[in-house]
């Protein structure tokens, strides 16, 4: 397949996954702001903006993190390349370019999201409940994912879409954890007790994993359990283990189809092995922040290898 086509497919997935994550963040943020906490919503919104790497851009444009501005910034703002509107538009534009590589269902999912977005943008803001916006986004992300899984040929294009999904999802998980890493640090005051307050809820909710977590672990919430769930547990749909396994799988299929391995397969294997072999104890020994930083950096070099090997068209 044309490298440019593969690149477009890869970015469809990355943008839609990003939109999904931003919607989850918004949902969590607004939820916390409804709680009668002394700290207020302020610090929480700040940390959520930090998680997406958008805090600086926001501060420049809006100053103080007022909820309404944050909603605008994260949902509608076209100046923010990671806003839901920007992501959905970019995903749809990438889809339009490779229209013939998609099934009608996949294209419909992308195009419907875009057309409805345009309608939302025309609506009076006061009529738009935040929950409606976030639900809407997550629904369309899920519909696209479903259309891809249900209708797309399992060819190399399918692999590039999935590679985009897993890279983006792993990166998002790592960043969300990293922003809250201090919450998970075993500190003296937490010894013997469960983690306090909604901080951990925030995290699990952002991953859409609160209930799944309880089903999987039960009992008290501990730093170890959360780290295990979000990093090592292959049952968790957003864990780093799930994401790296997905990357290995789809890169492996490409290598088989093309009859050659590249640096990307090698890096993916190493990334996955690093997750699998790390015990929770070892992770906390290294320092959670250090561990996650390392993951994010390694995943980024994997993305570069994937680009060089397949998407740039420079491979000889």
């Amino acid at each position: 397949m044309l490298s440019r086509t593969a690149d477009n497919l890869y970015w469809i997935a990355r943008y839609m996954e990003r939109a999904d994550t931003v919607a989850r963040l918004l949902e969590v943020g607004s939820r916390i702001s409804l709680l009668p906490s002394a700290q207020g919503y302020r610090s929480e919104w700040d940390s959520l903006l930090q998680a997406t790497g958008m805090a600086h851009a926001f501060a420049q444009k809006y100053g103080d993190p007022v909820q309404r501005n944050i909603e605008s910034f994260l949902f509608f703002d076209r100046d923010n390349p990671s806003s839901i509107a920007s992501c959905i538009t970019a995903a749809r534009e990438n889809g339009r370019i490779v229209r013939t590589a998609l099934t009608t269902q996949v294209w419909d999912a992308l195009n419907t999201a875009f057309q409805e977005l345009k309608q939302l943008e025309r609506e009076e803001r006061s009529h738009l409940e935040l929950s409606r916006l976030t639900d809407w986004t997550m629904r369309h992300a899920a519909m696209l994912r479903g259309a891809i899984d249900a209708t797309l040929l399992r060819d190399d294009g399918f692999n590039f879409l999935n590679i985009g999904y897993y890279l983006e999802r792993g990166d998002n998980t790592a960043r969300l954890m990293d922003v809250k890493y201090y919450v998970l640090l075993p500190r003296i005051d937490f010894v013997g007790s469960g983690l306090d307050n909604y901080q951990w809820t925030t995290l699990l909710r952002a991953m859409g994993a609160q209930r799944a977590f309880h089903w999987a672990y039960g009992g008290d919430v501990t730093a170890m359990k959360i780290a295990d769930f979000l990093i090592r547990n292959p049952q968790s749909p957003r864990s780093l283990a799930t994401c790296t396994a997905g990357l290995m799988n789809h890169l492996g299929r490409l290598a088989k189809a093309y009859g050659r391995e590249t640096e990307a397969q090698d890096k993916a294997r190493r990334l996955a092995a690093g997750i699998e072999s790390a015990t929770v104890e070892a992770i906390f020994d290294e320092g959670l922040h250090e561990f996650l930083t390392r993951y994010i950096a390694e995943a980024a070099t994997l993305a570069i290898s994937i680009h060089d090997a397949y998407l740039s068209g420079e491979m000889r």
């Binding site: 044309l2 490298s3 440019r4 370019i97 229209r99 998407l311 068209g313 420079e314």
Partner: protein, 469 residues
């Protein structure tokens, strides 16, 4: 001015349209509105829209589709087909000639100036004969009708005639909405076009290509107004739709960048202008092109369709000489006539044109899409006078033709069914052999009395039927 109605002669229905009489008679108004809405929804759903340059507004504008088909009998078509193929052969012979020895110029049949000083003449390909001696692989011939047996060629399109997607999609939609019509009438299929196009393109692969040639469509990108057509054709032919950045030159060949590494490309069906093909040969500032492509082309490493320089044959000033080309190269009499044309660059012709301006259609030699033209009988006094000034200032830039009484075909309008003027663009494929799909693009001027069928100026499209004999 008496106008030929293709369906009715007086009260009688002409035979090709016989079965449509009942069809339209039995269709209640509500059903018609329903069907029209359905057709529009289908067009929008498949994404076939048309962006008009410089008009602003909705970039996803639909070209209006009229459900009333335009019908040719088998024998009418047979004559058209012979005429179009003859013309396509002559045009290609002309191109081979003017990039070679220029016999037709030496013989004094066409002025050297019109060819060699033509902007579309590419010095860079002089002395080069493309595979199978074909420069123009898809010839779109614009034809108008004025009577039962009177067809005139309005212009030729030798570069990259567009619109074939409308021919294909109009048929798809008609078959889907009115399957009974297709059972009752024996209508020749047009969906063989993509196979024929692919065969045509493959047949002109360079001699160096062994085995099944790799064909690609080169598009200026997804912002182009014809990008739907490019991707449709790529999809139907099962070939890659590439942009300039996807191709590169290495050694003696051109390659596309794929996820499996470079893949050699043998035939490029390009939908971009000559000027943007190769910044090393043409416009150095072009970002669309492929550096070094022309060197590979000239040395036989890749075929480009249409060949760079093919445009010199469809120039409106050269057009006048096409009947002469038919006689000169083929030794035949032209089957299809030209519309009588005055070259405003000639003083005698200019005098005549200036005298008769209110009766004539005046066009820019290099213009397209109905822009920059004057339709005398429809123009205001003021418009005519303004055009007169332009004409006097740069006469060589214009040609003039009589206002033809274009034929009409019944068309669905607000009040029911009414005659509207039409033209026709069939697409002739030239490769190892010459082929013509029975059908084409019928454009219809939806405004009452209007003669301008261009989609950019309120024209619509119709399905075009050729009945099996």
């Amino acid at each position: 001015m008496s106008q030929f109605n293709e369906m009715f002669q007086g009260a009688d229905v002409r035979p090709p349209y016989a079965r449509l009489q009942d069809w339209v008679g039995q269709m209640p108004q509500e059903l018609r509105s329903l069907k029209q809405a359905e057709a529009e929804a289908l067009f929008r759903r498949i994404g076939i829209t048309f962006a008009v340059y410089g008009e602003g507004g909705d970039p996803d504008r639909l070209i209006p589709f009229d459900m009333f088909p335009r019908v040719f009998s088998g024998s009418e078509w047979a004559k058209l087909e012979r005429g179009i193929k003859q013309r396509a052969r002559a045009l290609n012979a002309f191109l081979v000639d003017v990039y070679g020895r220029g016999e037709i110029i030496r013989a004094g049949r066409i002025p050297a100036r019109l060819v060699y000083q033509n902007e579309a003449y590419e010095k860079a390909v002089a002395g080069f004969v493309p595979p199978k001696g074909v420069y123009s692989h898809i010839v779109g011939v614009d034809i108008v009708r004025t009577g039962p047996d009177d067809f005139f060629v309005l212009e030729d399109n030798c570069r990259t005639p567009s619109g074939v997607s409308y021919m294909l999609e109009s048929r798809e939609i008609m078959m889907r909405m009115f399957p009974d019509l297709f059972r009752e009438n024996r209508i020749e299929p047009v969906d063989t076009y993509s196979d024929k196009l692919r065969r045509t393109l493959s047949s002109v692969a360079p001699a160096k290509c062994k085995g099944d040639p790799t064909v690609v469509i080169l598009t200026p990108g997804h912002f182009n107004s014809a990008s739907y057509e490019h991707s449709l054709l790529a999809d139907l032919m099962g070939v890659e739709l590439v942009e300039g950045q996807d191709l590169f030159v290495d050694g003696e060949y051109a390659y596309m960048r794929t996820t499996e590494g470079p893949q050699r490309v043998d035939v490029i069906y390009r939908r971009i202008d000559d000027a943007y093909l190769d910044p090393l040969c043409f416009r150095p500032d072009s970002m669309l092109g492929i550096p070094g492509l022309m060197d590979v082309y000239r040395s036989g490493g890749v075929s480009i369709c249409s060949a760079p320089g093919a445009g010199v044959a469809d120039d409106k000033a050269v057009y006048t000489y096409v009947p002469d080309m038919v006689r000169f190269y083929l030794g035949e009499e032209p089957i299809l006539q030209n519309v009588p044309t005055w070259q405003c660059g000639k003083p005698d012709d200019l005098g005549h044109v200036l005298d008769k301006l209110p009766e004539l259609v005046v066009k820019e030699v290099h213009g397209s899409g109905g822009y920059g033209m004057l339709v005398g009988p429809k123009a205001t006094k003021d418009e005519i006078e303004r055009f007169r000034a332009k004409l006097i200032e740069d006469p060589g830039n214009y040609i003039a033709q009589p206002t033809l009484a274009l034929s009409t075909v019944p068309t669905f309008v607000e009040e029911g069914v009414a005659p509207r003027h039409v033209d026709l663009r069939p697409y002739c494929l030239v490769g190892e052999r010459i082929e013509l799909v029975p059908g084409g693009l019928t454009r219809v001027a939806l405004k009452e009395g209007s003669l301008v069928v261009n989609s950019s100026q309120g024209g619509g499209v119709k399905d075009t039927w050729v009945l099996a004999e």
